[in-house]
């Protein structure tokens, strides 16, 4: 039962990632095409452009949402791969909790940095 909901969430996050990550990829890599179309984001990997984006709440919010969704999708997928080896119930519990702890640490750290850079 629980795994059914986890799998449903995997599908939903997959669709969300397809949308959000496409926006992210287009903005980061197709800057020449975007400036041709009238959206100028000035060499997105330069320090100046990056720190300008970091000061906007919209970008920080988008990145934090993307981080949460991607971490769920990635770590749940990794868990599914590991569980295909059919470990015992005790091992499964260890794997699940390791992944939950790792994901929480990654999320907290990845949220702290953009929030700190909002004023930095």
């Amino acid at each position: 039962m629980r795994n059914t909901y986890l799998w449903l969430a995997q599908l939903v996050t997959g669709v969300l990632i397809a949308v959000l990550l496409s926006i992210h990829m287009v903005l980061m890599h197709l800057d020449a095409i975007l400036s041709f179309l009238g959206v100028d984001i000035k060499d997105p990997t330069s320090w100046h452009s990056m720190i300008e984006r970091s000061r906007e709440t919209l970008w920080a919010g988008l990145y934090i949402a993307l981080l949460a969704i991607v971490l769920y999708h990635a770590l749940n997928g990794l868990r599914n791969i590991i569980l295909e080896l059919a470990p015992s119930a005790a091992t499964e519990r260890i794997i699940t909790w390791t992944i939950i702890v790792f994901g929480t640490i990654a999320f907290v750290w990845g949220t702290y940095v953009p929030i700190r850079l909002l004023s930095g």
């Binding site: 020449a32 990997t45 320090w47 990056m50 981080l67 990635a74 990845g110």
Partner: protein, 147 residues
């Protein structure tokens, strides 16, 4: 008296890279898994790059960018883009299958079997993926000046 053996279709860990006599969908699944693990590796590097090296100020960030403009990282970025597109498109195919969108009416399984899904769906997606990958590589190379 020979005992009928159940069909052995559990390939174990070897089944992650080799699928024997299985059909194309099994190989699509293997590629889905490989690209997923590759993107996970990229995600970890990307998170470290955009947090640890970003909070340390301008000099550290620009030194990191200098390292990342190395041709080897460019090759890696190409692989990540291809893997992401494959994973996304195959994932959409899997969602269509799972939820049963646009698959036509189900038929009773009477020989000879007519399985519209197995006939068409993955060839369509494969062709779409190849087209999209070529488009992105083309845009990145010639318009955005990737290299």
């Amino acid at each position: 008296m020979t005992q009928i053996q159940p069909r052995r279709n559990y390939l174990g860990a070897l089944g992650w890279i080799w699928a024997g006599n299985y059909k194309l969908e099994r190989y699509l699944y293997i590629f889905h898994r490989i690209t997923g693990l590759g993107i996970l590796l990229f995600l970890l590097l990307h998170l470290v790059m955009t947090t640890v090296f970003r909070v340390q100020g301008k000099e550290v960030w620009e030194a990191t960018m200098e390292v990342l403009h190395n041709p080897w990282f460019k090759v890696g970025e190409y692989l990540v883009v291809v893997a992401f597109l494959y994973h996304a498109l195959n994932g959409l195919r899997l969602i269509i299958q799972e939820l049963g969108f646009a698959l036509g009416r189900p038929r009773p399984p009477i020989y000879p079997y007519k399985d519209s899904l197995r006939r068409k769906r993955y060839w369509t997606i494969l062709i779409i993926s190849i087209v999209v990958i070529l488009c992105v590589v083309f845009f990145y190379d010639f318009i955005a000046g990737g290299w």
